[in-house]
Amino acid sequence: MNFDHTKPIYLQIIDYIKKQIIGGELTIGDKIPSQRELAQQLKVNPNTVQRAYREMEAMELTETIRGQGTFIVEKKQLLEELQLEMAEALLKNFILEIRSLGYDDKEIIKLVEKYQQKLGEELS
């Protein structure tokens, strides 16, 4: 994994775990690597990984069981929640950017529908 060094690394580690859940590589109840393993794997400071794990625990994405390791929480809606969270982040960016081009919200919806159709044709 390559980090964007203009943003805090611990946040990118959290995103990395979230993307693995969305991508299906990790699922609820799965054990994630130990902090030491992940630090070595990603070649980052163990203190930074520790911070990411602390945050994930606080946001109830993971839980740590003493002596056993850190696990993705057993929560049915977790996947949908994460999908929605990421979709919202993408949409926010998209809407802000396209508004700055001078389109109003109705025009944006039309543009999206038109482009969805175009993309559909291209892909089929």
Binding site: F3, H5, T6, K7, P8, I9, Y10, A39, Q40, L42, K43, V44, N45, P46, N47, T48, Q50, R51
Partner: protein
């Protein structure tokens, strides 16, 4: 904790450190960054006790640098300090004879991790391998304080990766302190907790790396360019 209070060090007419004040916390990986000639190496050598301040004071966990503080420091100098006729094993035995915190199991493990052999003769191996051999000897001790002076200088990219991995491999976060001086920031961006940018013998900027990234919206390299933008120094 290491504390420099108003420390000045001159070599003849050259001022290496100029009333520098900084306090280095325990248990973190700290980058001392800056272009060549900014005073980074002088700073490390003072911690080891190889350079003495002209004025000001320096304390390590509340003590003046002495043989006692020296015993818990593992120092990797920038220069080739190993006797070139020795084998890696002889160099290891040499270091072992000086320090009680030598860890034989760790030495064996690192030998294979760094792809070195005890029988290799220092003068017959490549520069990259010599860099790894120096690292091997520094990290085979369970020192509380590890000082690395330009550990990546002149080393190829693959070897650099291995050196970075070695630094974080057995790192005891919160307990062990590692000070790294370098002007090659790209590779070590990810492993630093805190940085001190040194300019003309003074601290130009310092702070927690993640916080600096957040505040500047920039990588350490970009921040460094900002810090030194008024100069024509090269790094």
């Amino acid at each position: 904790m290491i504390e420099f209070k108003n420390v000045t060090k001159t070599f003849g007419k050259t001022t290496a450190l100029d009333h520098i004040c900084l306090s280095i916390p325990k248990g973190k990986i700290i980058g001392i960054l800056g272009p060549n000639g900014s005073g980074k190496s002088t700073l490390l050598k003072m911690v080891v006790g190889l350079n003495k301040a002209n004025s000001g004071s320096l304390s390590i966990d509340g003590k003046n640098p002495s043989q006692e503080t020296r015993n818990s420091i593992s120092y990797l100098p920038e220069i080739d300090y190993l006797y070139s006729w020795m084998t890696i094993q002889q160099a290891a035995d040499f270091v072992k004879s000086f320090y009680r915190d030598w860890d034989e199991a760790k030495y064996k493990e690192l030998l294979s991790f760094l792809e070195l052999k005890p029988s290799m003769v220092i003068k017959k191996i490549s520069k990259g391998m010599r860099a790894k051999a120096k690292l091997l000897l520094s990290f085979s001790r369970n020192a509380d304080l590890i000082l690395l002076d330009e550990p990546l200088s002149g080393i190829d990219i693959l070897t650099r990766d291995r050196i970075i991995e070695t630094i974080i491999k057995d790192y005891r976060a919160g307990d062990q302190t590692i000070l790294i001086t370098t002007h090659e920031i790209r590779e070590i961006e990810g492993i630093l907790d805190e940085v001190f940018f040194i300019r003309n013998g003074k601290v130009a900027l310092n702070g927690d790396v993640e916080t600096l990234r957040e505040e500047h919206g920039a990588s350490l390299i970009e921040i460094m360019k900002e810090v030194y933008s008024n100069e024509n120094s090269q790094w």
